[in-house]
Symmetry: C2
Subunit: 241 residues, 2 copies
């Protein structure tokens, strides 16, 4: 059995048993692919499917009344897509692939049965969604309180920590398909501003984002500069060994 | 059995059975009270308790590296306090009572057993936490994209919808103990600015916030002005009747 990103992610909290691994595996049956730019979750529509992202990157966003777009988060392998839609009538946001992506469609009934059958895994899923909320809180603080350079640094570090958890990054860096436009939209900055800040961070020898790669030139100093405390991404759960 | 706010809230999604009502009731055994200004959850501390807010208001906030405070959300009866702390090592935020409050302390072991024993209720709890995340997303958008007047209007409407769900508000209005300072801190505005915006909204005949009461003078017009779509607070669950 290949190690799927969601298995790695939940496995960081819970020492998954064979039964739980089989249940997780059974959720990964309905593979689908979506091409860049083709929304797979649609804001305002009912009965949206829920997916687990297996490979590639996506972006969750919301279109406001006046047509402006606010990016809520980027989604990486191991993340749920449209999970909130499972428990509400209409989706309150859209999701678009940033790269071509591979997903597994999860049927509500299957998912509910899986959670009911494996309470420990249910808690791990709950932890994963709590972590998503903690990230949105950090983004709120990013936009509300941090200056542009700290904002960009914090964001790149957060992505790195998330990717490391699913084996796609390290303190050296990670492959990152995001454009400066997407970064700008997520951080409430102009892309010109993002460009200037990235140049500053590179000139200071802290981080380089170039040609689809984020390289942490000095992880320790960048962490200190950003006031980045990965506690809110904490993958060490005290509950379930 | 009195109708507790959390029971009303979860009951809006799930038609709770007698068994589930008893399990919920059993969670409400350890009553405690906290006075205004005395933190009951502490950012950065381990092994924080989890509570259900029974009466009164509280504020969840985070202190940044530079000492600034960002309010994440206000908590009203029926809300969980410190639920994320249950699945992470250290609390990533603090919670302080805005008024004297009454809470029920929930022991982790009791809560986990309750969820494992009543999968439908577990889904309702999951829905409640998803809704919390949806609210933080709205606050992100509020700060990132909406102008001051729309921001204040949207916030007052959201509070009204949340309070209505637990029987503490209606489209006429609600009792609200928040100061203009707290409102300002939550919305990323100065209190002088909040004061000016509240006067504008009142002069336009849309909403009046005075002497601890929010009165919706014209709920329909305020909703339109704010672009408020209560969909993200949707309490009508398709899953569980």
């Amino acid at each position: 059995m290949e190690t799927k990103p969601l298995v790695r992610k939940l496995g960081a909290l819970v020492a998954l048993t064979d039964v739980e691994l089989r249940v997780l595996d059974a959720l990964h049956k309905r593979r689908r692919t979506f091409a860049t730019g083709r929304d797979l979750v649609h804001q305002g529509r009912a009965d949206q499917a829920t997916y687990i992202l297996v490979s590639g990157w996506a972006v969750a966003y919301k279109i406001l009344e006046d047509g402006q777009r606010q990016i809520i988060d980027f989604l990486i392998p191991g993340d749920f897509i449209g999970l909130r839609g499972m428990v509400s009538h209409l989706s309150d946001h859209s999701v678009e692939p940033v790269t071509d992506i591979e997903v597994t469609e999860v049927l509500v009934a299957d998912f509910m049965t899986a959670l009911a059958d494996t309470p420990r895994m249910a808690i791990a899923v709950f932890w994963a969604t709590s972590r998503d909320e903690a990230m949105v809180v950090e983004h709120l603080i990013n936009i509300g309180r941090r200056d542009a350079a700290v904002r960009v640094a914090h964001f790149l570090l957060e992505l790195g920590a998330r990717l490391a958890l699913v084996g796609l990054g390290s303190k050296a860096g990670y492959a990152c398909p995001l454009t400066q436009y997407l970064l700008a939209d997520a951080l409430g900055l102009s892309s010109v501003h993002v460009n200037r800040v990235l140049r500053q961070l590179r000139d200071k020898g802290m981080v380089t984002f170039r040609d689809g790669f984020v390289t942490f030139d000095d992880y320790g100093r960048l962490t200190e500069f950003a006031g980045f405390d990965p506690e809110y991404l904490d993958q060490i759960g005290p509950l379930l060994k």
